[in-house]
Amino acid sequence: MRNSFNFHDFDWILFGLVLLIAGIGILEIYSTTTLTPLAGQFQKQIYWLLLGCALTVIVSQLDYHLILAHIPWIYFLALLTLGAVLLAGPRLAGTHRWIQVGGFTLQVSELAKLVIILAVAAAFTRRRNRAFTWGELARLGLLAGVPGILVALEPDLGTALTFLPIVAAGAFMAGIRRRQVMVLGLIGILALPAAWYVLRPYQRERLEAFVHPKQNTQGSSYQVTQTKIAIGSGGLWGRGLGNGTQSQLGFIPVSHADAIFAAFSEERGFIGTLAVFVLYAILLLRLLEGARTAADQAGSFILIGFASVLFFQVAVNVGMMIGLFPITGIPLPLMSEGGSSMLFIFLGLGLVMSVKKQRFVN
């Protein structure tokens, strides 16, 4: 048994859910790109999916405690890579987000999410349920804050924001006290004006477009207007695969990537939306149920951290399509086109499987 793969306690239902959502995404990528210069993109996504499955299986065989034991080095390496990308990475579309690996470009910040989850999880090792100290709060903030600033500088505010739910989940699980929440809130309010000056012009424009959608129908507001039109025109049953005029005629920017859910909703209607929401909800709830039975708090937090990031991304991505959140570059997990995002999910899934193997049984 030691030399072969062990599928004992492998969560096939979770794995099937993930494949199902990814399959729906690939179908939609096919629909929105087939008549464009990006035709064939869905095949790339399939390759990433296959690679992801392999990685899930491999990682699931590792003992997560071993990884947690080496997390300081991994974390340090991640910081180094983020710094290197920022300083020396190729400039694509005006940002430094990627490193070249073979023929692929890899978005390091996606993998950094996983490292931060593990780093926070490691902090829970043998912590027990003692009181949450100010020092722990500071450490938690730094764990996510340092890479967060590096990523935000790329600039990739969207991905940097996805570190937040890890911190929030960490603080919540560690038992953050009311006074600490109030102090953090106060600091947040005081920092808001400063944050405004740190934002880049396009980011400010998105915020303004979110606050006053009617004033400016160009740029970001135009995007939201168009995605809303797409989603609304889908109706109950959708316009049919390949028949969404908004997505097919290019009125939705990046309809295969960040805005894939608008294209999906247009072509599949509210019924499709409902189905996908149910799938995501089952996926997330199953992760949280798994967290109940993990062997220890560290393992439990790997599931909670992973679920919190996925939930944050799904909620924000889907919400910004209907104007609930300002436009930020946050992809929809499993459905948006993009290899790095797939790697994050499947590596994370591997860790989840690893945790589930050592589950606690009463």
Partner: protein
Amino acid sequence: MQVRFPEDERFPSWKITFLEYFIAAAFVGLLVGYWRLQVGQHTQMLEQAEHNRIRELPIIAPRGRILDRQGRVLVDNFPSFTILLNRENASQLRDAHLEMISRALDLDPGDVEDMVKRSVKLPRYQPIVLKQAATLKDVAFIDAHRSELPEVDVIQSQQRFYPKHSVASAVLGYVGEVSQADLARPGANYRAGDLIGKFGIEREYNSILRGRDGMKRVVVNSRGQEVGTLGTVNALPGHDLRLTLDLDLQLTAEAALGDRPGAVVALDPRTGEVLAMVSHPTFDPNDFTHHIPVATWKQLTTDPMHPLMNKAIQAQLAPGSIFKIVTGTAALETGTITPDFKVLCDGKVTIYGHTYHDWTWWTLHGGHGTVDLHRGIVVSCDVYFYTLGKMLGIDKIDYFAERMGLGHRTGIDLPDEDSGLIPSPDWVRRVFHHPWWPGVTMSVAIGQGAVQATPLQIAYVIGGIASGGDFARPHLAFGRELENLGVDPPANSTVRFPLHQTTVRAVTDAMWGVVNEPGGTGASARCRGLNVAGKTGTAQVVSASLQEASHSAEYRNNAWFVGYSPSPNPGIVVAVLVMQGEHSSVAAPIAGDVIRAYYHEKGQTPNPDQLVSQVTGKAKPGAAPREP
């Protein structure tokens, strides 16, 4: 491997439960948002999606051509491009865009902004015309900037073209962009930027020439590129319109008048068909088809000789001695005199205590001796007609002048015809608030004073008298052809005012004498082998004494001649006005040229194109402009 861990190693269960409810609640909230959009606002959103992808492009109906009576093309079209601005997506109409567009298309940014502002009230789906007759450079620019400027479209259109340039331009008129006033008119079926007839035939028969624009519904992508067609409503081209004008005769008349300011009208008095109509100086209608250059417009509007006026129907001037035919006819018809009534002319006559001079007084200091009606007309004796004027009285002169077509419009199918003026005691009382001075009757009797007539009226009146009292309404479009096009032709085709045979013979014989007898004032209109008759007129613009004192061109006499052939019952009557021509002898040969061309050279003009360039000074008539 199942290991037992202490309870303390695990997170409190309620925290995970809390997270689960939190997630479930969030999804329910998102679902409500999607429900409201996808089910609640489905109809509006679907409509907006359709608006996004469907664009309606007009298909401009080509305007009908205008032809001469033999079917030769006077006004044509050639294919060109029109650039449209779509206003459906207001966000795209940002100032920066408009400025970029206007700079690239050589338009005035202010004009474009105004145009957009003015069109605010029009339905948004109606595109507005940014530029007519776009150059290839403009089209290339639009094609190259499709993605940045999705609001701009290029469509095929037809550009109005006048191959003969200024030939007959006062009659044909010109087209221009529809005005704000036209757009505001109730029931007006125009878009901003549409071309409509602004002057002349182009305006009079705009509804026939214009046709109906079609429309193409196309699917466009987000960059404004057409990716498919949903449906097409074909354009209904405008109807061609054949005019009574004869290009050969028109060219002859234009050449005969030459550079002199004035007008020539040739009518067939039997039918009222206008065979030629010249007004000079004039304009090149090609200048108006798109934005007319400011300098050209300034020149046209400030020229003291009013190039934008059709002098054949709008120059209201004293007809001078030509009016003696009206006075003479009135005298005979009322039985006031017989043709052999004689008057001794010694160069002046004193009536009501005022001395009236004959025109010979100023040059010869003498008179015509004893003259009868015939001789009085041939030598244009003023004293004879002063005498008739006194005998007739103003009321009778007025009655005949009005019944024979003066003082009111002839009803020709051209816009803005002027009515001329026959002064009456009523009119004097109304305008000047004093009674009629009997002495003024003498001036009226010889066509001076306040008497005013247009060249068209002169041809109409003389043609009618020479035809025995049949006054055929002048017209440029054939009534039957209008009927075929579903347009009601004007009703009053011929006004009958029967004259006695003896009157007609006496007057026409006298007019024959004007041209053919020794001492006749119109000898220079004589044509070999043709029976030409006519009457001269030299109309003072100011009093003779002021004229003596000043040599300014404005005060020079207007020269008139009206000629016809054969006499009586002519087939053609030609009225000529040479403004500031000083003496009627400059006008008579012009009429002679036209009459000669009508009878001798019918359809035999050696090289019409050469004549066109001679008349217009344009190098290559008939060829469309090279660009685009």
